[in-house]
């Protein structure tokens, strides 16, 4: 009997090949879409965390209020002590002091006269300490286009587009004209070690990257830093953990009335990241859910139609004396086989598509021009553990439920009624 049913299933293309193709396509789309949404949300979040907000950030209370203005006159002092405290209290996290600043880059000619000038957004971080992870965290080796990474004090990195605009080559000298912590104008010379291309419009416009000790010297900020960014273990942002860490840190300074007392903020508590994190958490889930539900409805319907289409065959089988329960069970078994086959193939194909999207991504640079939030110009998928099973929800469950519902219709009909429909 089982052989008989399998033969029927294999030979009847509209009962096997077509439903498997439909399930495969549905599952493939679900898996790829899920990974893509996860990738887009996760990558955008991590990018903003890496370059700007950290998973948590420690600032003075006064600095935090105007953080978007980069008010280095309100920066943290005695940073090494604070850094030690942070490492002691939250040893699993990585802490990195940074200075963000604005300034003007002046490029001199051979006579020392200004040849070109341009506004720069500066980021100072620990590039030279052996125990610093900042170079890898920012992916500087990957982003390097020309020259090399700074190996000694006084060397700087600038974005490739910026270097082309100002006609700067690696090895050229540049002058940073900026404002010190105390509000006075400062000028400091650097040698360009290399140029960078991040693939993000906001970073590629005019970024200057310095070692933090050079920036402290240039901006007159000894043992100071605008902010100390912290990164959670595992490297992925988790809002609950970040907020919990911030609350634990801030509790110790709650009674301190000083406006320069340190304040820790989670990524979602900074700038415009709150709604985005919420969007990431809620909408990524919704988008995946909507897609899963939509595919489930399609596959449910396919299962339903598949069952209804077989009224004739079922009528004959009942007339031959097959019990309704047996007919119903075989329909369910068939849909399980089709659901599993389609889900497995669809998941494999979906993961392949997701892998391609993860490796190569889709270039959306044109859409990101002028964006103030850091969006990756190449959106990549991220294959997370749910990608391995999420396709089975529409693929297997919906197919089986659709068949089960159509089967119930058959089950409830009088056998003679099935016969009338069969003869019709």
């Amino acid at each position: 009997m089982i052989r008989f049913l399998i033969k029927g299933l294999i030979r009847d293309k509209s009962r096997s090949r077509l439903p498997v193709i439909v399930v495969t396509l549905g599952v493939m789309l679900t898996v790829a879409m899920h990974a893509y949404v996860k990738g887009f949300m996760g990558e955008t979040l991590e990018m903003n965390a890496t370059f700007s907000y950290g998973h948590v950030k420690v600032m003075t209370r006064a600095y935090a209020e105007e953080a978007e203005l980069l008010p280095n006159d309100l920066a943290l002092l005695e940073v090494s002590t604070l850094n030690e405290e942070l490492s002691e209290r939250f040893p699993a996290m990585e802490w990195a002091p940074r200075i963000r600043f604005g300034g003007l880059i002046d490029v001199p000619d051979e006579q020392g006269e200004t040849r070109a000038q341009g506004p720069a957004v500066g980021l100072a971080l620990d590039l030279l300490s052996e125990d610093s992870n900042e170079i890898q965290r920012l992916g500087l080796p990957r982003a390097l286009i020309r020259g090399g990474l700074p190996k000694e004090r006084g060397e700087a990195l600038i974005s490739e587009a910026f270097s082309q605009r100002l006609l700067i080559e690696p090895g050229d000298d540049i002058t940073l004209i900026g404002v010190s912590m105390n509000g006075s104008m400062v000028m400091h010379n650097f040698r360009v070690a290399g140029t960078l291309l991040f693939g993000m419009d906001i970073l590629d416009r005019g970024t200057l990257i310095l070692d933090i000790e050079d920036a402290r010297l240039a901006l007159d900020m000894p043992d100071a830093a605008g902010e100390i960014v912290g990164f959670l273990p595992g490297g992925f942002y988790d809002d609950a953990t970040a907020r919990h860490t911030a609350d634990a840190f801030n509790a110790a300074y709650q009674s301190d009335p000083d406006e320069f007392a340190p304040l820790m903020k989670a990524l979602s508590q900074q700038g415009s990241m709150g709604p985005y994190v919420q969007f990431g958490q809620v909408w990524a889930g919704y988008i995946s859910l909507v897609f899963v539900v939509a595919m489930a409805l399609v596959l449910w319907n396919a299962g339903l139609l598949g069952g209804l289409r077989r009224y004739g065959e079922i009528g004959v089988r009942l007339a031959m004396g097959e019990e309704k329960g047996h007919v119903y069970r075989t329909m369910i078994y068939e849909s399980v086989c089709i659901g599993i086959a389609g889900s497995v193939i669809g998941t494999a194909l979906g993961l392949f598509v997701a892998w391609l999207l993860q490796e190569y991504g889709i270039n959306v640079e044109g859409l990101m021009e002028g964006a103030s939030l850091m969006f990756p110009t190449t959106i990549r998928a991220r294959i997370t553990p749910p990608a391995y099973y999420i396709g089975f929800i529409p693929g297997l469950a919906a197919t089986v439920i659709g068949t089960a519902l159509s089967g119930i219709g058959i089950f409830r009909r009088q056998t003679s009624q099935l016969f009338k429909e069969l003869e019709a």
Binding site: F4, A319, G321, E323, L422, E423
Partner: protein, 234 residues
């Protein structure tokens, strides 16, 4: 009646179907008996109740009132499982539109009732080949229904109905889709099987070609037995 033992007894059978807010009465107090080995037909115009009566005898439907006993089973009191068991073991069906399983071969279509009865492989093979020989389709065992003519399809349906050698075969308008030559061929085959296997064959028909072969005709009119004629006795 041909005087043999009774395998179908029908007493005061009434069948009503819900229709809109009311009811439609398809059968109005039918009382009949059929004996083993009969070659009989329910004859009448459309809507006279032939198919409804055939469905009840075949345990596909149940009486609203009255009593129907088929091969010792009271149709009105059978559970769905018991009704399926009765059909599986004792009743063969032949339909107007053949209703063969299109993706299965002739052999597999005929084999299907034996699979339900859980006969072993060699037993099935022998019984299927016997059935195909009765209907003259041994050479078509590997063909599929779409490759067959209408007459051949109906012969496969006959082989399927007869393969388990049931005591009762019910045929609903079996020649309606066939031309005259094929109809006569089919009816001769059924007549032969009736004679050789002593199977009771009960037709629902208004086809004159079938009526010409029947040995007993029960004329139905508006759900009642109008006439019950034994035309010819062997």
């Amino acid at each position: 009646m041909n005087g043999t033992s009774e395998i179908i007894q029908i007493q005061g059978l009434v069948k009503r179907f819900p229709m809109g807010k009311g009811e439609f009465t398809a059968l109005r107090g039918i009382t009949l008996t059929f004996g083993k080995g009969e070659f009989a037909g329910l004859v009448g115009p459309s809507g006279s109740g032939k198919t409804t009566l055939l469905n009840i005898i075949g345990s596909l439907d149940v009486p609203t009132e009255g009593w129907v006993n088929v091969l010792g089973n009271s149709i009105g009191t059978l559970s769905a499982k018991e009704a399926a068991q009765l059909r599986k073991e004792s009743i063969g069906f032949i339909f107007q539109s053949y209703n063969l399983l299109q993706v299965h071969t002739v052999y597999e279509n005929v084999e299907f009732p034996l699979l339900l009865l859980k006969h072993n492989g060699s037993q099935r093979r022998r019984m299927v080949m016997d059935a195909l020989e009765w209907v003259g389709l041994v050479d078509k065992e590997k063909s599929k229904p779409p490759q067959l003519s209408g007459g051949e399809c109906q012969r496969v349906a006959i082989a399927r109905a007869m393969v388990k050698r049931p005591p009762l075969v019910l045929a609903d308008e079996p020649t309606a889709n066939l031309d005259a030559a094929n109809s006569h061929h089919i009816l001769k085959t059924m007549e032969t099987l009736n004679r050789e296997l002593h199977t009771t064959l009960l037709f629902a028909t208004h086809d004159d070609k079938v009526i010409g072969y029947l040995r007993r005709m029960i004329y139905l009119l508006d759900g009642r037995v109008d006439r019950d004629e034994t035309v010819r006795k062997d």
